[in-house]
């Protein structure tokens, strides 16, 4: 399939198109953030605390009187950054480990995959909580923690692809023609592993955003006064009985962004890897 055909398929797949539209809209908001925010997202206004939605504050104000719409807009940038950086942190080592395990096999495979099994033995959120607590709770460490948690997933996917590619004639032929291991891995095996990696990474962005928000909610992620959506929800929790809007809007923003990544990931999978198509 040529690139243009793939792009055309992608645009005509409703799930991918809807996902792309949501992500693009949030990306624009994230990039143009400071131009769009009606108020300063960090500036307290004690006289206006916990006000419900109004024309002056469409999403209301929080316990310090800050404009929630401005804070949700400010948080978009943080959430997209979390998605991209966390996925990069898990994707690079995960792919490398998967390539090595699948290609060399034997003890290298056993060693790498048993270590991965050990990481998979923890429920993801628990491992992320644990790593953040060890490293000290802040936004950077949240991204590192979420990144580490998902390394085994990429290693497994890449290893499975490599195992089947290794048996294919074109890879074996390069080996017989004297191609070195590095050349075979980087020029012939890796490019053919990319479609499943792209699909998983897109879906992984949604998962990363969710996990990071969960850490923020537990007080282990971004620290105040950062307008990170999970941390905003954590604050909103205290006022759920008198001012539910404080929690409602940042949560809806998380849902929308994760939904965007999942829609796009599902569509990408249908286009790039029809064998996995969910009929």
């Amino acid at each position: 399939m040529s690139r243009w055909e793939a792009l055309h398929d992608l645009m005509s797949n409703w799930s991918a198109a809807a996902g792309m539209a949501i992500i693009a809209a949030i990306l624009v908001v994230a990039l143009a953030g400071p131009l769009l925010t009606p108020h300063d997202p960090l500036m307290p206004a004690p006289l206006q605390r916990l006000q419900g939605p109004s024309s002056a504050h469409p999403f209301g104000t929080d316990s310090l009187g800050r404009d929630i719409l401005s804070r949700v807009i400010g948080g978009a940038r943080i959430s997209i950054l979390i998605g991209v950086i966390s996925v990069t942190i898990s994707l690079l080592p995960g792919t490398l480990l998967g390539l090595l395990a699948g290609y060399f096999g034997r003890w290298i495979d056993s060693l790498i995959m048993r270590c991965m099994d050990m990481l998979l033995a923890f429920p993801a959120i628990l491992l992320a909580i644990f790593i953040t607590a060890v490293l000290e709770p802040n936004l950077t460490n949240t991204m590192i923690a979420v990144g580490i948690v998902y390394i085994p997933h990429y290693a497994r996917i890449v290893r499975a692809s490599v195992l089947s590619l290794k048996q294919q004639l074109f890879v074996q032929a390069v080996g017989h023609l004297g191609g070195g291991h590095v050349r075979i891995l980087l020029r012939h095996v890796l490019p053919n592993c990319i479609p499943p990696i792209i699909v998983y990474a897109t879906l992984g962005m949604g998962t990363a955003v969710l996990q990071a928000a969960a850490l923020g909610f537990l007080g282990l992620g971004a620290q105040p006064p950062s307008p990170e959506w999970g941390a905003m929800l954590s604050e909103g929790r205290q006022y759920i009985q008198i001012a539910p809007h404080v929690a409602a809007f940042p949560g809806a923003a998380i849902l929308l962004l994760v939904l965007g990544f999942n829609l796009f990931g599902d569509g990408l999978r249908d286009v790039l890897d029809p064998s996995l198509r969910s009929q």
Partner: protein
């Protein structure tokens, strides 16, 4: 069922748990903050601090500390909590049952609703129902459950106060513990008032926890059913004149169950992870909340114990899923 296979898997399980215990032990020692200082407060004098460190074994070398820990662990002793001074094993057991009750309820809801939605979607593919159910499933897998929990609390406990906000039972209401699962104990004691209260308390947390697994089950059931429904034996069953219900439930669903069982097993892992968040929102006295509180309080023994229990449960679930897989489909050769 080949015994050699089971033995091999059990050995692997032990090896993974050993690895997990080493990793957790080392990582906990890397956490900034001295537990002795934390216990005695900022103004503790150096002698008191030194005495407490000796008492807790913190002054010994790391390998020695781990050796002692492992020796105790093998005797079923997980150490004492530094916050409450009660054995961690006792604390974990009580909370484990609370988490189990919540997870089982969520598992029940997610399986019943997820499988039904998946089957109906597959039977009427590309209908409005199919698109609606699958869109809801996609929203479900994208759901921040800590937000959903808060919104459910607002809706059903604050705005329309029909359900309680938190806890397992109302204050002062108790039931003699036989199994530790409040609903079962209430049934055994014949106290239906308590049973009613317990189920009211369980409903919102269980719904919250069930959301993501429910969506995953619905998606997998649909695709597995679609594949099976196109098979020749389903056409044969229809050609024999069997009713549609029999064809779907007895011929198709049974064969579509293999991937669904795998997902149900994986979902238990999701449920255990989700329990950490759900228990925090609903003040449910389970293991998830306990592990977060212990981590914040630098309670090494409690954190180690909880994480080992979580890892053991995950590993055991994966083992059971693999065994059920072999039982359901004898064609799968276990040595592969």
């Amino acid at each position: 069922m080949p015994l050699g296979y089971i033995a091999k898997r059990l050995l692997q399980l032990v090896a993974i748990l050993f690895g997990v215990s080493v990793v957790v032990f080392l990582m906990l020692r890397m956490i900034p903050g001295d537990p002795a200082q934390l216990l005695l407060g900022e103004f503790a004098n150096p002698e008191e601090l030194a005495r407490l460190r000796t008492q807790l074994g913190l002054d010994r070398s790391l390998p020695l500390q781990y050796g002692i820990y492992l020796q105790n662990l093998l005797q079923g002793d997980l150490g004492n909590s530094i916050r409450t001074n009660t054995p961690v094993a006792v604390e974990i057991w009580g909370r484990l049952l609370a988490t189990l009750e919540l997870s089982l309820a969520a598992m029940f809801i997610s399986t019943v609703v997820g499988v039904s939605a998946g089957v109906v979607s597959a039977v009427r593919p590309h209908s409005a129902w199919d698109y609606g159910a699958m869109f809801m499933a996609l929203v479900g897998v994208s759901m921040p459950i800590f937000w959903l929990g808060l919104m459910l609390i607002y809706l059903f406990a604050v705005k329309y106060p029909v359900l309680p906000m938190m806890g397992r039972l109302p204050m002062g209401l108790e039931v003699p513990a036989v199994t530790g699962l409040v609903m079962v104990d209430a049934l055994i004691a014949g106290r239906f008032g308590v049973l009613w209260e317990a189920s009211r308390h369980l409903l919102l947390p269980a719904l919250t926890l069930a959301t993501i697994p429910m969506a995953v089950v619905a998606r997998i059931t649909r695709s597995a059913m679609l594949e099976v429904l196109s098979k020749d034996y389903v056409r044969t069953a229809r050609a024999k004149g069997l009713s549609e219900a029999v064809v779907i439930l007895r011929h198709a669903l049974r064969n579509a169950f293999l991937p669904v069982v795998t997902v149900l097993g994986l979902n238990l892992g999701l449920l255990l992870g989700g329990a950490v968040l759900t228990e925090t929102i609903f003040s449910w006295p389970g293991l998830g909340r306990y592990v977060v509180d212990s981590l914040m309080g630098r309670d090494y023994a409690a954190v180690q114990g909880c994480i080992l229990v979580f890892a053991a449960m995950m590993a055991a679930i994966n083992l059971v899923v693999d065994l059920i897989y072999v039982l359901l489909d004898p064609r799968i050769r276990v040595n592969e």
